[in-house]
Symmetry: C2
Subunit: 300 residues, 2 copies
């Protein structure tokens, strides 16, 4: 019987922990607003102990962590493994805050046109997606502040690219001239406005010009104030999908992330004729299970 | 002898006034930090009187204004004239805060792929450029918060497009994750870093991905902190020029705007093999002179 596994998804703004079954399912999960930026230096072990109260007693589980906990601002800086990277590279790159007991999965780096790109946590989620959906290859799109699209094939994460979609939305929404014509709260998604923004950006040549449409349409009364955030959201997602130039042909396209955001991307992809499957945040637990299994299998 | 002319370039953040000679040159000019956003409702006449002290006595000059003074937040909202627009349309669209004495030049609107675009003030500057440089056609690139590229031919401003380049720079510079690795002050332009950012964005597919390079290059020590603002500036200008897809063939390309910014664009255009002429801010005075002459000529 394999050793018990506690999985930890420790990001910038939140901490998720779970007891993970042999099949990768969470037996029990908790989420806390204790992202790494809330943890004082030297305080990571204590925060983790508290989050996992009752789970760390004998027989001592393996605690496997992924995410920004492995960054310079985290518990222990873990060097990025290089793409293409499979389980071997992830296992070889594990860093151990507590040797034999607690490990952090390395993030990945790749190069796109000579420029480095990085991820921490998404590599685990992407491998988990393969296992959750029973795929041997996929294009995994992970929306968020810094959205990632990863390509997996031949047991490896071959490469990926980041788009600052969520962050650009927040900047334009809160700090730009466009914010002046937007309501204080986002409200529910207005689908026609979302798709209109999507189409304008997707058919355009870039964000610097396309974003100005949110201003001019409002100026001429062609965009209702309440619909502004939906339009802007469509604009940003449309720009990301334009930049990514996804084709219908290719490995299965899978969306994974928070529900509300994933639904918007699913709507956008369907509108653009790009069918996609979806997976939930539990993909991370499956990914940690798979990495733990690979680590066990590699032990002498 | 034509009536004396006082020109007013009244924007969001500054007010420039000049006594303009028959050849379009400024005989005397003043600049004040009295942009329209600093003027209380009903206060425009008084601010203008003070700025033009000594210039408005008999024989009463024509006072011709352009810029955001004609917007909803300005002195008098002037409807946009539609492109293509020549002097006839600008004269026909003049709005008169003081009939026969003080007029505001209408801004222009056009449509790009069904989406409206607008300018206020740049139409005057662009027509002025033709006169300053003795051209009968041109592509006039006006850098700034909302940069404009206008095409002029056959005596008309045929169309234009806005890119939110300056605003996007400010948002990324001040409010984004990139700001964390940038120094407090911009410092002098570091040309190699500027051109590196330019090349990355210009060869890329869009800003959401390209902007992340500022983070990853800094992360791997491939971009010096002090060079970050120059790199980011190159990135934004490179993205604008990528979106605009300017070709070397075509009407003369002219850069007009504030000196420091115009120099950056000139550097960028030369680097990309796009020769450009430059004109100074005085193009606005020439444009106001030309519009005043057209108005005089059209009087019964």
């Amino acid at each position: 019987m394999p050793r018990p596994l506690v999985g930890v998804d420790w990001g910038t703004s939140s901490l998720r922990v779970a007891r993970i079954a042999v099949d990768g399912q969470a037996l029990e999960a908790r989420e806390l607003p204790r992202g790494i930026l809330t943890v004082p230096a030297g305080g990571f072990a204590a925060v983790l102990q508290a989050a996992c109260a009752g789970w760390l007693d004998a027989p001592a589980p393996l605690v496997l962590m992924c995410g920004m906990v492995g960054s310079r601002q985290g518990w222990l800086e873990v060097p990025y493994a290089r793409c293409p990277a499979g389980f071997e590279a992830l296992v070889a790159g594990l860093a151990w805050p507590e040797p034999g007991r607690m490990a952090i999965v390395p993030g990945l780096r790749c190069e796109n046109a000579g420029v480095p790109d990085v991820m921490r946590g998404e590599e685990t989620k992407a491998f988990g997606v393969l296992r959750v959906l029973g795929l041997d290859q996929a294009r995994v799109l992970m929306p968020g502040t810094h959205a990632k699209l990863a390509t997996l094939a031949d047991g490896r994460l071959q490469g990926f690219a980041t788009c600052m979609t969520g962050e650009a939305y927040a900047l334009l929404r809160q700090h730009s001239i466009l914010a002046r014509t937007l309501p204080a709260q986002d409200g529910p998604l207005h689908e026609p406005a979302f798709l209109r923004g999507l189409d304008i950006a997707h058919a355009g040549r870039g964000l610097l010009h396309a974003a100005f449409s949110a201003r001019t349409l409002a100026l001429f009364g062609q965009l209702d104030e309440a619909q502004g955030p939906s339009f802007l959201s469509g604009l940003l997602i449309g720009e990301e999908l334009r930049e990514r130039a996804l084709q219908p042909a290719g490995p299965p396209l899978v969306l994974v992330g928070a529900d509300a955001l994933t639904r918007r991307y699913a709507l956008a992809l369907a509108h653009l004729g790009l069918p996609a499957q979806t997976a939930g945040q539990e993909a991370t637990w499956c990914g940690l299970r798979a990495i733990a299994d690979a680590w066990e299998a590699a032990r002498p």
